[in-house]
């Protein structure tokens, strides 16, 4: 893997006039490298906090100077720290995997991991919107040989735009399942729609035409699957193998 220094050395990539797309691509790779390095550092600090907290737990368990009540209270604190460390470790692992793929235009990657990360990164918006966000697993997803950066972007937009559409108290469910020669990702919004979102998901969404184009380039398709009174659904099909067609870009 290239180091950050490699990524920012323009002479390595023969950058000249008209190479803006290449430059943008290298910029994405650089952002990915920075994030990956940062998440590695976080992971190291978390490991140290985890061990120090565990050591504290060992001491509390061994030392007889504590009363039973004190011991319980300390064990509670140790367990709270451990719980938060584990949550952060998981977040940081998502960030790390995402970062390592950022900027790649074509590689083989685990579709299940990508979906898991997109959901993980959207939990904050869901909490702010007071909409619950859940992922329903439906079998092991195949690996995709495609453009992970663009796919992650599309899946994130689908989730976030559905979170924006559903009113407070609603629910957004993400389903990803293996289908013939690909993966089907469905984002379903349940509950009444926000007043500003009464039209179908595609209409009025400035991203929609561009998204359809990008998904088409990847050999897949986007579809508004059904519109019921309180159920909105968008579906994204992605083929297992497709080298992106960027000839028109």
């Amino acid at each position: 893997m290239d180091s950050i220094e490699d990524v920012v050395q323009p002479e390595r990539f023969h950058l000249g006039p008209g190479n803006e797309e290449t430059l943008r691509q290298r910029q994405l790779v650089l952002i990915g490298k920075v994030m990956a390095g940062f998440s590695d550092k976080i992971q190291n600090h978390l490991a140290t906090i985890h061990e120090s907290n565990g050591r504290l737990g060992d001491l509390v368990g061994q030392d007889s100077q504590w009363t039973e009540e004190e011991r319980e209270r300390l064990a509670g604190i140790v367990s709270t720290i451990e719980r938060h460390v584990q949550t952060l470790v998981q977040k940081s692992q998502h960030l790390s995997r995402f970062a390592r793929r950022t900027g790649a235009t074509s590689c083989t990657f685990d579709a299940g991991e990508l979906v898991e990360e997109a959901v993980s990164f959207s939990t904050r918006l869901a909490r702010v919107r007071q909409v619950s966000l859940a992922q329903e697993a439906a079998g092991t997803l195949p690996s995709l040989c495609s453009d992970p950066t663009r796919i992650h972007f599309i899946v994130s937009i689908l989730i976030n735009s559905m979170l924006e559409r559903v009113s407070r108290g609603g629910k957004v469910i993400l389903r990803a399942e293996p289908v013939e020669k690909g993966v089907l990702i469905e984002v379903e919004g349940r509950g009444s729609l926000d007043a500003a979102a009464q039209s179908p998901p595609g209409e009025g969404n400035p991203y929609w035409p561009a998204m359809e184009q990008v998904v088409g380039d990847l050999g897949g398709h986007l579809q508004i699957d059904s519109i019921a009174h309180d159920i909105n659904r968008t579906a994204l099909f992605l083929p297992t193998t497709k080298v992106p067609d960027t000839s028109h870009m």
Binding site: N44, L46, A47, T48, H50, E51, G54, R55, D58
Partner: protein, 163 residues
């Protein structure tokens, strides 16, 4: 059992060493890959718990060298930033196990004991074949831990024959 911990995060590895000590596993600690190789030259450990990303020499390079020079030493990778590719490479180089930081201390202690048991069985099997004059088999076992399974099956058959 002689165990070496190799990690450049000093606070982490010191605390880990303390906690393993409480669980009956005494360890020595070094902080980079070259130190680890120097240590191995002086006093061969049974098990090494090895971080991957360290200044100077990466853990994977240490594993690569050890797999050539000291294949009996069992290596448990313990890393905070390994990729799937790293895991595959570690498996290819016959690392005993691959764990991600942070890991449960009792799980790590179990893996270290498991690695030590495996090393003993492997050494004993190789010695038994050498004693029986099966030098090729003994050499194979010493080189390649996968052959231990085959050796174990042969021993079972021998036991059956004896009874």
């Amino acid at each position: 059992m002689k165990v070496l911990l190799v990690d450049d995060e000093i606070d982490f590895v010191t605390t880990l060493s303390n906690r393993l000590g409480l669980r009956g596993i005494e360890t020595d600690v070094v902080h980079d890959g070259q130190e680890a190789l120097d240590y191995v030259k002086d006093q061969e450990p049974d098990v090494i718990v090895l971080d991957l990303k360290m200044p100077g020499m990466y853990g994977m390079e240490v594993l690569r060298r050890l797999s050539k020079t000291n294949p009996d030493i069992q290596v448990v990778i313990l890393t905070g930033h390994g990729t799937d590719r790293d895991e595959e490479e570690a498996q290819r180089l016959k690392a005993f196990d691959y764990l991600r930081k942070p890991t449960d201390i009792d799980k790590l202690a179990d893996r270290i004991r498991g690695a030590y048991r495996f090393k003993l069985e492997k050494t004993m099997a190789a010695a038994a074949f050498a004693e029986a004059g099966e030098f090729d088999m003994a050499k194979d076992i010493a080189k390649d831990a996968e052959r231990l399974k085959t050796a174990g099956e042969i021993f079972k058959d021998e036991d059956k024959d004896k009874t």
